[in-house]
């Protein structure tokens, strides 16, 4: 009787070996360390400003990140010399600019100075530049 079941035993044992072999085919799961470093914006360069009527043209040189590479954008501010209060430049110089010059139109009469702040993305801002020479509108 037991001889009749010998082939069955062989099949079962072979299945067990195959199951073991299948498990051995799956190898490894491993972890490892790494790092990601972000850049830092450098200080903006002092701009120059020139007046023509109520238009002021502001020009500046490119700012790099501290580890190299040009800043992707710039934000311009205008300061009232009399009060020291600064506001974001408007009409032609508003928002984040990707160029190195802009002309603000409709500037009200007064004495003004401009600054340039490097920018990246929505929120990254570098140190503000020194103020430009005073322009009188």
């Amino acid at each position: 009787m037991r001889r009749r079941f010998l082939p069955l035993l062989v099949v079962v044992v072979a299945a067990g070996l195959l199951a073991g072999g299948a498990a051995a085919a799956w190898a490894l799961s491993r972890s490892g360390p790494g790092a990601a470093k972000a850049k830092t914006l450098a200080v903006g360069s002092q701009p120059t400003a020139s007046v023509q009527g109520h238009k002021v043209t502001v020009t500046w040189t490119a700012t790099s990140f501290t580890t190299g590479g040009a800043a992707p954008g710039y934000v311009i501010r205008r300061y009232n010399v009399a009060t020291g209060v600064g506001v974001g430049a408007t009409n032609g110089c508003s928002g984040t600019l990707t160029v190195l010059t802009c002309t603000e139109t409709g500037v009200v009469s007064g004495s003004w100075q401009y600054t340039v702040t490097p920018a990246a993305g929505t929120n990254w801002r570098g140190p503000e530049s020194p103020k430009s020479a005073v322009v009188v509108v």
């Binding site: 498990a23 085919a25 190898a27 360390p33 990601a36």
Partner: protein
């Protein structure tokens, strides 16, 4: 005592199942022992800023003698600081079948990018990364 045929078959199947399980567990144990010297993942990326995509090169070093196939690599990013959270950095996962010969290294390149609205506190931040890889014998 003589066993009736159905009982004998059941006994054989049970023995086979036990044997198979033992063999599988033994093989898994061997696999885990191999994993101690299996493969190593490392990599870093620099120059990140908002809205920019960078290539993150992950080096897979097979420390064993048998070839491997890397099937997946995922990256967990840790907070750089209290003000610069991990969610500001996105790193793509790798899926594939990269073969790495025994005692050799291969490189995997995935995309890393900072969110455009990441806070200015993320300037100069260093994010620690933890790679997790899965490979089969290949």
């Amino acid at each position: 005592m003589k066993l009736r045929p159905p009982a004998f078959v059941a006994l054989l199947v049970a023995a086979g199942a036990l044997f198979g399980t033992a063999a599988a567990l033994g093989a898994l144990g061997a696999s885990h022992r191999r994993s101690a010297a299996g493969f190593k993942l490392s990599g870093h990326v620099t120059g990140l800023y908002p809205g920019q995509r960078k290539r993150l090169v992950i080096v897979v070093r097979n420390r064993g003698s048998q070839a491997l196939r890397v099937r997946a690599v995922t990256t967990r990013v840790r907070d750089a600081s209290g003000a610069c959270k991990a969610r500001n950095l996105r790193i793509a996962a790798f899926r594939g079948a990269l073969r790495v010969a025994g005692h050799r290294s291969r490189r995997i390149v995935v995309r890393a990018s900072m969110r455009a609205d990441s806070p200015t506190a993320c300037q100069g931040a260093v994010f620690r990364l933890a790679f997790h890889g899965r490979a089969t014998q290949g």
